[in-house]
Structure formats: C-alpha cells, structure tokens
C-alpha cells in the first residue's frame, strides 16, 4: 500500500514483496509523485483505514481488524474490516457474495449476466457498472466514485500500471501471482482480507463435488478431455473443473491453455477420454458427429460427451462457488446416465 509509506510507524510500512519487482525504473522515476500521492492517500484514508493516526498506536483499525495477503504485485494490506468493496470481475464478485459481502459495485451489466451468467441473476444488490472496466481495464476514477475501502480484481483488469494508479488510493487485491487463479486460493485470500471464512467456503464446495461424485461411482477415476471446437481443430481448454466429478486429465489433455494446445480435426480419434466435454462455439456439433470416428470414441459410446453452451462454458471457466452449483446442476444428470451406461 503506497500510502503507508509515509506512516511513521514501521509496522505499517509496505512489506517487501517476495516477488521480484519488475518496475524498478518506474519506481525510481516515480518517487516524487509517490510522495505526493502518499500525502493525498493518507489524508483520504485517514478516516477509513486509520492509517498513521498518532504514532505508537497499533497498525490495526478501530475495530482491531488488520490483514495482509500476498497479491500479484506485492502485499495487500487492510487496516479495517472492508465494508465498501468494488469487484472488478464476476468471479470475485460471486466469491465475495458467498463470503457474505455484497460488493457496492460490480464490473458487469445486466445484459451480460442474462446472456452469459444466468445463475448470477439477482445475486447482487450492488450497482452493476460496466464503466468500472472499460475495454477490460480498471478505471480508477470510476472505482473512486464508489469510495471503496477495498478493490478486488484480477491481473487482467488490474495490470501493473493500473495497480500503481490505485495502490496509493485504496487497498487493491489484483489477484494472486498466477494469471489464472484457482478460485479456492482467491477465496482463502479474500476471506483473510475481509475477515470471513474463505476456507469454509472452499470446503462447502468440495463437499458439493464429493456429493456429485457419490452419484457417479463408475465414472470416478476416469479420464477427461475438455476442448473448444474451432474451425479445423480442437483447442484444449482448462478442464480442471471436471476434477470436481472425480475425473482425471487424459494423457494429452493440456490444462495450460498454451498457444500450441490443440489437435487437428483430422485427429478426432485422439479425443479418446472417458468423458469428453466440448464447448461448441461455432455450431460444429453436426459436423463432428458426421465423422465416422466419432461414434467409436469411448465417450460417445457411453453417452459421456458433454456439449457445453456459452453459459455452461462460462460457468466452468475460472468457476466460483455459485458457478460450481450451476455446472454441477447442468451436467450431473447427463453424467449420471453415462455412468449408468458404463456400469
């Protein structure tokens, strides 16, 4: 937290990050501005964060709450229980809601929720404001207009430069170091930052997955592949969500989403996992089923080919707790009948 730099008490100094700092040059050049910003930030946060009040006090706020977690660009610290949280993605928003914190504003729109995230309809009481992240980049002014005491985003919306803009003004959690955070690690971190039970939430979703697995005794331990149909090839998506059903990745399943994680349509026979999930973005289902090799796939003979539409595909993409509920409800019946077929 940049504002803390001017706090007289050593306990509230910016904790050195364990990650290498990439912006050394910028930091040097920015020192003068940082001092200004620090002064501004301190004044602004005085009431909220109770930072740098009188020296010698505890670094915690009035309610004795204080927390720090390692974010993507360094430590994120709060010194009072956050009450006005701005969520810059729907994924963190649903985690926050399940932790019992309604964000004051969420970077989304009702249209987006209706079309792609139907299970989040009516979940939020805060403002849905697409202008928080115009062009997928966080806008400090729009965020500032909600007078937040915590901003939660991910590394896409809060890049380093945007983080530098926000950091001195309001504690900002830009996601964890990894680009595609596992939702459970984010939930634990957010639980710590907001003084709520992140691990409890993770456990409850794990219990849901366990319950689903109990209904699929014959599929558990089977292999999965998750691909998106493209023109001419199948691109591997991150299929780790299928592990909720007790499945394990097939040998050629590539969950890294690297640029070469794809197989040509000529190699349809390589999609031979027990469960095959296909995000059919381009309406290729009829063409794929016309290939004589399709019927011979293990997943096709047992009826374990899952054709995902856009909402289900979104629910499985970096899923949060409510997304888990949704894709389990959508896909479990199909998997159950496939398991019955196999058993």
């Amino acid at each position: 937290m940049r504002a803390a730099a001017s706090c007289p008490h050593p306990a509230v100094r910016r904790t050195p990050s364990t990650r290498p700092r990439r912006k050394v040059v910028c930091d040097v050049a920015n020192r003068a501005n940082r001092i200004i910003a620090a002064a501004v930030g301190v004044t602004l946060l005085a009431g909220v964060a109770a930072c740098g009040g009188s020296s010698g006090e505890e670094s915690s706020g009035a309610d004795g709450f204080s927390a720090s977690v390692d974010g993507a660009y360094g430590a994120v610290e709060v010194h009072a229980r956050p009450e006005r949280v701005v969520a810059l993605s729907l994924q963190v928003a649903e985690i926050l809601v399940e932790l019992g914190i309604q964000p004051v504003a969420i970077a989304s729109s009702q249209d987006e929720i209706n079309e792609f995230y139907p299970w989040l309809d009516g979940v939020f009481t805060g403002d849905l404001d697409p202008e928080l992240t115009p062009n997928y980049v966080a806008d400090p002014e729009a965020i500032g207009s909600y007078e937040p005491d915590l901003v939660v985003g991910n590394t896409w919306t809060v890049a380093e430069d945007v983080y530098a803009q926000l950091d001195g003004f309001v504690p900002t959690f830009p996601g964890l170091a990894e680009a595609n955070d596992d939702w459970d690690a984010v939930a634990v971190a957010l639980g710590e930052l907001t003084g709520t039970d992140g691990q409890g939430l993770v456990d409850s979703v794990a219990a849901e997955c366990a319950a689903a697995q109990e209904r699929l005794p014959d599929l558990v331990g089977g292999t999965y592949q998750y691909v998106a149909a493209e023109e001419g090839q199948y691109r591997f998506g991150n299929g780790s969500w299928l592990e909720c059903f007790g499945l394990v990745p097939a040998d050629n399943q590539d969950n890294t989403q690297s640029t070469d994680a794809a197989v040509s349509e000529e190699l349809l026979d390589q999609l031979d996992a027990d469960v095959l999930a296909v995000f059919d973005r381009i309406g290729a289902r009829a063409d794929i089923e016309a290939d004589p090799r399709f019927e011979e796939l293990p997943s096709a003979t047992s009826g374990a080919v899952l054709w995902l539409d856009a909402p289900v595909a979104n629910a499985t993409n970096s899923p949060g707790p409510l997304s888990h509920d949704y894709f389990i409800a959508e896909l479990l019946p199909e998997l159950e009948s496939a398991a019955a077929e196999q058993g």
Binding site: R22, K23, V25, C26, D27, A29, N30, N33, I36, A37, A39, V40, G41, T43, L44, Y73, P130, E131, P134, N135, Y136, V137, D139, P140, E141, A142, G144, S145, T155, W156, A159, E160, D161, V162, A164, Q165, G168, F169, A179, N180, R235, Q257, T259, D260, A262
Partner: protein, 351 residues
C-alpha cells in the same frame, strides 16, 4: 537571439539568429504553431476537468497551485495529468516521426510503420503478454525490443549498397505482413482473457498512463526531439530529392540513416508505453503542411498538430463516444475520415 523583420522574398518571414545558427521562419508558421499550442493548453485543461468526477477550472487550478489536497488532487495529478501529458508528448513524437519519414521517402503515405515499427512492437508485446505471461512493464520492454529489431531487420534486408526508398517500402510491407500474421496467430491461439487484453494494447490505449511510465518516456522523447531539430537542415535537403541533397553537400545515406533512427526511436518509445497508436504519424504532418501552407513537411508543425490530434482523440475516446474506447480506434477513424474528406474536397475544387 536577434529577430529582424527584414522582408524576404516569398512568404513573410522572420529571421532568427543565435550565434552560428540562422533560421528563417515564415510568419504563418509561427502564428499557426502559436495557435496550436494555445489550443493544446486549453484541451489539456479540459482533459484535467472532464471525467467521472467533473471539476471546474477553479478546482483544477487549485490543485495545480497546490491549494487543494485530497481526492481532487489524486484525480487531477495522479490519474488525469499523466494521461494528458502522455497524449501531448506522445502525439508530438508521432507527428515528428511521421514528418521525418515522409521527408526521407518523399511519400505522403509513409510513416515509420512502414518499417515495421508498430507491428514489431506489437509482436514483442504479444510475446511477453501471451507466451511469457508478463504484465504491462514486460510488454513495454518487449515492444521496445520488437520495434527496434523489426525496423533493423527491414533496413538490413533492404540494404544493397544503400537503401533505395522504394525497396525499403516493399521490404517493409513484406516484413510487416509476416509479423501481422504472426500477431494474428498469437491472438488466435491465446486464452481469451489474455487475447482481449493484448488486443486492447494493440489498438493503442492511454488508459494505463501513470507517471511511472510517462515520466521516463517524456524524458527520452525530449532528447530524441532535440536530436530531430539538429537533423532538420539535412532533412529539408533530402525532401528535395537525393540528387539535389547530394549536390548541396549532404551525405545522403548517412543523414537518411540518422533520421530513420530518430524516427524509429520516437515511434518505438511511444508504442512501448501506449501501444501502436495509428495514423497520427501519417496525418499530423499532412495536416500541418496544409494548414501552414508550407512547401515541405514541417517538423514543428507536425509536432504541435500531432499533440493536438492525440489529445483531441483521447478526449473523444474517453468522453464523447457512448462507450470508452482505446484511443487508437479514434485516431484511426479521425485520421481516415480526414483523408477521405481531403480527397473529396480536392475533387470538388477541381470541378
């Protein structure tokens, strides 16, 4: 420095003398530049006032003179000011780079982009963002390396006992086409979130402008612009053609290489920090030339019009269109429309 108002042949002009440097400045040039600078200041003030939190002139002045603390100060000094400064300086840099390039190729449609600067920068940034998974600082570094490497490759591939303008352009087009394809593939093969972020960068966007990047960028650009003014006399000779320039004692090849290096440097720095902002380099020199009625492509005019153009485009991108857009989209539409208008206007006049 002395200013004499002796009338000279041709357009009314002032002669400036400072030691060994003699300059003949056309009066229209001075007036137009002055007007553009004033416009620039007014637009910059507007940029500091407009936003989600609308501020009056008084508020902005209070912040600038240090009479206000708090949120206003953060908004104006930390969030809006670096963006406005970036728009002005980057715009000027692109304008000058375009003018230099149009002079050495004597082609109104040439810009440093022909050398693959923007495309190379995009390739570098994409590799850092998508393949290496780096953030914005890494992207800026990648862009810088990519821009310089691509333009060096074009220059070397086009070099055969000298660089002939036409060959340079063709090799530039070929290399740019290859890099463009590669970029398209990187975007295509990337995970959607990464691809969208990279594509926004690829449009040219000032929304990430913070002092951390803008301040060093401004310093480097200032040095390059100074170098550009030193090269100006030789450049004016090149504008008349290689033979004429050689005849008046200009080392053509060396001057051309130096001019290109500076133009590429300016473009590369801007592109590293703001992404490939299109059309400013192309349009600013041409607008300046027409408004100033100058015979060649004026550097100073290109600078001020570049600044005004990028500042206006950024204001439009932020506040005028219904959704906020990356500024590069606006510059392309504004620049392209201007060119269309120009064509129609010329046709109308000829009737």
């Amino acid at each position: 420095m002395t200013v004499s108002r002796r009338p000279v042949v041709g357009a009314p002009a002032w002669r400036l003398r400072a030691g060994p440097v003699r300059l003949r400045v056309r009066r229209r040039t001075v007036w137009v530049c002055a007007a553009a600078v004033v416009a620039c200041l007014m637009l910059a003030t507007a940029a500091l006032m407009l936003g989600r939190l609308p501020l009056g002139v008084g508020d902005v002045l209070a912040v600038l003179t240090g009479q206000t603390d708090g949120f206003h100060r953060t908004v104006v000094l930390e969030w809006r000011a670096p963006r406005a400064v970036a728009a002005v300086v980057f715009g000027a840099a692109l304008g000058v780079a375009g003018a230099m390039f149009q002079s050495i190729t004597r082609n109104a449609l040439a810009s440093p982009d022909v050398l693959g600067v923007s495309t190379g920068a995009y390739t570098g940034a994409l590799l850092m963002m998508i393949v290496a998974g780096g953030g914005t600082a890494a992207a800026a570094g990648g862009a810088l390396v990519g821009a310089v490497a691509a333009s060096a490759a074009v220059y070397l591939l086009a070099f055969r006992s000298g660089v002939q303008g036409n060959r340079l352009v063709i090799v530039g087009i070929a290399v740019t086409a290859m890099l463009t394809s590669f970029n398209t593939w990187l975007i295509l093969a990337a995970e959607l979130d990464a691809a969208v972020s990279a594509a926004v960068w690829g449009q040219g966007d000032l929304s990430g402008a913070a002092w951390g990047g803008t301040a060093p960028g401004v310093a480097v650009i200032a040095v390059l612009l100074l170098t550009a003014t030193l090269l100006a006399p030789g450049l004016r000779q090149l504008d008349l053609g290689d033979d004429a320039a050689a005849g008046s004692g200009v080392a053509v090849e060396r001057t051309r290489l130096r001019v290109m290096a500076v133009a590429v440097g300016l473009t590369a720095v801007v592109t590293a920090l703001a992404g490939p902002v299109a059309f400013i380099a192309l349009a600013a020199p041409q607008i300046a030339r027409r408004v100033m009625r100058a015979p060649g492509v004026p550097l100073a005019g290109a600078a001020v019009f570049g600044a005004v153009l990028l500042l206006v485009s950024d204001l439009v991108a932020q506040h005028v269109v219904p959704t906020v857009l990356p500024v590069g989209i606006v510059t392309v539409v504004v620049g392209g429309s201007y060119l269309v208008w120009l064509l129609i206007e010329e046709a109308r006049r000829r009737l």
